[in-house]
Amino acid sequence: MQEKLVEFANLLRENGVRVSLAETLDAFSASEVTGLSERDAFRAALRATMVKRASELPVFEELFDIYFSGLGEIIKQASQAVQNALSMSDQEFQKFLDQVEKMLQKEGKNLSELARQLLQNNSGEMERKIREASRAVKLNGIERTIEENYFARALARQLGLDKIEAEIKELREQLEKMDIGSELKAKMEEYLERRLKALDDIIRRYVRMEREKRDIKQKEDQRLNQIGEKSFYYLTEEELKKMNEAVTRLAQRLKNVITVRRKRSKKGRFDIKRTLRQNLKYGGVPFKLRFEKRKKEKPQVVILCDVSDSVRNASRFMLQFVYSLQDLYSRVRSFIFVADIGEVTECFRNNDAKEALDVALTGDIINVYAHSNFGYAFRNFVTDHLGAVNKRTTVIVLGDARNNYNLPHDWCLREIRQRAKKVIWLNPESRNTWGFGDSEMDRYAAHCDLVEECRNLNQLYRVVDRLVAG
C-alpha cells in the first residue's frame, strides 16, 4: 500500500499539486486510521492530508478515481465481460470457476503463474503482476497517444503474453482429450479463448488509462498558457469570461502583496512623548517602548484608458483591470478617452463591473466613435484634470498611441510627468509596430518612466510584478 501511496503522491505532483514528503507520511498514518476497506473514508483521509488548496481538489478527485479504481476496476470489468459472454449468472460462473480449477489441477501443472491467475480469476494477484510489469517497462513515461501501441506491446512482452498464449493453446489441446461432457468442453474452450482476449484488453485499457492520467495536467496547462499568451485582440466570449476572472485574481494578488509590504514598515522612529506617557503607570520606568507610526502612503493612481475602436478588445480588459484596481485602492481616478476625455471614477464606483464597462464603452460618457486623438485628449486632461496628479500619483496610460496623424502634443505628457511620481504606458500593440504609420509611441515614450508592451495576460502579470516590486 505504501508503494501505491508514494506513486499516487508522485502522480499528484506531476499534475501540479504540491505534496510534500511529510504530507505523504501523514497520508500513510491517516489511511491506517481509516483503513482501506471503506472507500469514501479513505478518499477523505487522502484529501485531508495531501491536498491543501481548494483549487486543487478537482485534480485530486479525478486522479483518485483513475488511480484507485483504475486497474482493479478494469480487471473486474474484463472478467465481468467474460461472464456475460458465457451468459452465466454469478452462481453458475462461480461453479464453473471451481470446475476450471479442478481441471487446472489435473492438466495445468506446467502453467505459468500469470496464466493460472488469469484463468482462476485471481484479480488481486493479477493486478500486482501487471503493476510490476508496467514499472519494468516504465509505463509512467507515456505521454502521447501514438505511444500507446508501443507500450501495450512492451507490457505484453514483459508479461510474457506469447508464452501464455502458447500455454493456453496447449491446454485446449489437452482439453480435447479429456472426457468431460461435450457441453462443458465447449464452454471451457470458449472460456479459455475469451480469457486470453480479456488479458489483451486489460493491457490496452490500462495503457490508455495511464496516458490519460498524464493528460489531465497537459490539458490544464495548455488551456492556461493559451489564454495567458493569447492577445487581447483575438479572444472569444468564453475566453473573455475566464480572462475576467484572471484579471480579478491578478488585482487581488497585487493587494495581498501590498498589505504585506505595509506590515514590514510598521515601526518608525522612537517616540519619546508616547513612551513617557505609556510608562507613567510603571512609575516612569520605560518598560514599553513606543515608536512613531509610519504614515501609510496610500498609493494614488490615475489611469487614462484609450477605448477607441482600434483597441476595443484590449480596452475591455484594461477597464476590467482598472475596475478591480479601483475596488482595491481608495484613491484611484479613472479616465477614458478617444478624442474627448471623461472621468469614469464615479461610474465605476457605483456600478457592477459589467454595467460599468458597458456604460464606459457605449458612449454615454464620451463619444467612442470618434477617431482617436491622443494629443487632444492629453491637452484636455492637462487643462481640466491636472489637479488629480500630484507628487504621489502614479499615472498609467493604456493605449496604442495611434494618433491618426493629429498633433501629438507630447508637451502635455511632459507636464504630467513633471507633477507625477511616475508615468507608465502600457501598449497593447506589438513592440515591432511602435513608431510606424500614425503611431506616436516613440515620441510619447520619451516622457514615460516605463513603457511596456501589454498584449496578453502574461505580460500584464509581468507588469503588475514590476509595479509591485518598484
Partner: protein
C-alpha cells in the same frame, strides 16, 4: 475521543450539527492523529460552529482566538504584568528589607534576593491569553483559531512552533509544555493564501455550500418550528440564489436567519408581499438585493404557474 467515523456523525447530530461523511472523517482523523485541522470555505457554512460542536460533543473546553490584522504575541499568547510586579515589590518593600537585614556585603544581599527569585518570576505575573490557556489548561480543550487569514504572516510563522511541538517559550519562566495536547481547529475565509509550512502541518478540510437535501435537514434541525413547506421553498430559492453572480453569496447561517425571520412573521409561503422586505436577511448588498428580488419573483411565478395547472386539472376532474 471518538470510536469511529459513525460515532462522530452521531455525536455531532446530538449537538445539532449535521456532518457529512467527509467532515466526520477529517474530524476523526484529527482526533486520532492529533493534528490541527485547517477549515476553509465560503463564509457562513459552519466553520466556526464545527469547532464549537467538536468541543461540546467531546465535553472539552473551548478556547477561542479571534484573529485580526495586527494581532501579536502579547494578545494571543501571554502578557507579562510589569505593573502588578512593580506594585508587589513596592508594597512588599518592608518585607524585602527584612530579608536583607544583617547582610554583610552586597553579594550576600543579592544572593538573598536571588533565593526569592520564584516570587518575582512566577506564573502569578503572567496574564495568559488564549494560546497559553490552551496549553496550560488542566482539562483537555479545543482551541479554535478563527479567521487565521486575517492575521499577519508573522503571526502565522509564530503559530508554527506551537502547532508542531505544543510548547511555548516564555522568557521569564522558561519553556511550557502542554499538559494535554489541545485539538486545534483553524478557520480561514481565504482572504489570503496560507503559507505552505502551515498547511503542511494541518489536515485540510474544505466545506462547501451543502446541497438541497442537506440544507433542508439543517434548517429542520436548527429551526424546528418552521413549517416544512416554507423551509423547502426557502432552501430552493437560496440554492438558486447561490448560482447567481452575487457580491456576497448567502451561506447557511443566512438561510437560517431568513427562515427564522419568516417564521416569526407568520409567513408560510414565499409568494407573500412581506417576503421581499425580509430579503435583506440573506443578501447584504443593494445590488444583490435587486438581483435576489428578481430571482424570487421568477420563483413565485413558476410556483404559481405550476399551482395554476394543478388547480386547472382539478377543475377538469370536477367537470
Amino acid at each position: 475521543m471518538f470510536s469511529s467515523i459513525e460515532d462522530v456523525i452521531e455525536r455531532f447530530a446530538k449537538n445539532n450539527y449535521i456532518a457529512s461523511r467527509r467532515i466526520a472523517t477529517v474530524i476523526y482523523l484529527a482526533t486520532e492523529l492529533r493534528k490541527p485541522v485547517l477549515v476553509e470555505g465560503p463564509a457562513g457554512v459552519g466553520k466556526t460552529d464545527l469547532a464549537k460542536v467538536l468541543a461540546a460533543s467531546l465535553g472539552f473546553d473551548m478556547i477561542r482566538l479571534q484573529c485580526y490584522e495586527g494581532l501579536d504575541e502579547g494578545k494571543a499568547l501571554y502578557e507579562w504584568e510589569y505593573a502588578k510586579q512593580l506594585l508587589y515589590t513596592q508594597i512588599l518593600k518592608d518585607k524585602i528589607s527584612e530579608v536583607l537585614v544583617g547582610a554583610k556585603s552586597l553579594t550576600e544581599a543579592v544572593d538573598r534576593i536571588a533565593a526569592q527569585d520564584e516570587v518575582f518570576f512566577s506564573e502569578r505575573f503572567v496574564l495568559p491569553r488564549p494560546l497559553l490557556k490552551a496549553i496550560s489548561s488542566e482539562q483537555p480543550s479545543v482551541l479554535l483559531i478563527d479567521e487565521i487569514d486575517k492575521a499577519d504572516a508573522e503571526f502565522e510563522a509564530f503559530l508554527l512552533e506551537l502547532l508542531s511541538d505544543f510548547q511555548v517559550t516564555v522568557p521569564e519562566l522558561g519553556t511550557l509544555k502542554a499538559k494535554h495536547i489541545p485539538l486545534v481547529v483553524l478557520t480561514s475565509n481565504n482572504a489570503r493564501e496560507m503559507s505552505d509550512a502551515l498547511k503542511r502541518r494541518c489536515l485540510h478540510l474544505y466545506i462547501d455550500f451543502p446541497d438541497r437535501v442537506q440544507e433542508l435537514a439543517i434548517v429542520k434541525l436548527k429551526v424546528p418550528e418552521a413549517a416544512t413547506k416554507l423551509a423547502e421553498e426557502v432552501v430552493t430559492v437560496v440554492q438558486s440564489l447561490r448560482k447567481l453572480d452575487l457580491k456576497k453569496t448567502p451561506g447557511i447561517s443566512e438561510t437560517l436567519d431568513w427562515v427564522k425571520a419568516l417564521t416569526l412573521l407568520n409567513v408560510n409561503s414565499l409568494d407573500q408581499e412581506l417576503v421581499t422586505e425580509t430579503l435583506d436577511t440573506i443578501v447584504k448588498y443593494e445590488g444583490d438585493v435587486r438581483k435576489a428580488q428578481e430571482e424570487l419573483k421568477d420563483y413565485v411565478r413558476r410556483v404559481r404557474a405550476r399551482r395554476g395547472t394543478e388547480a386547472g386539472s382539478d377543475k377538469d376532474l370536477l367537470n
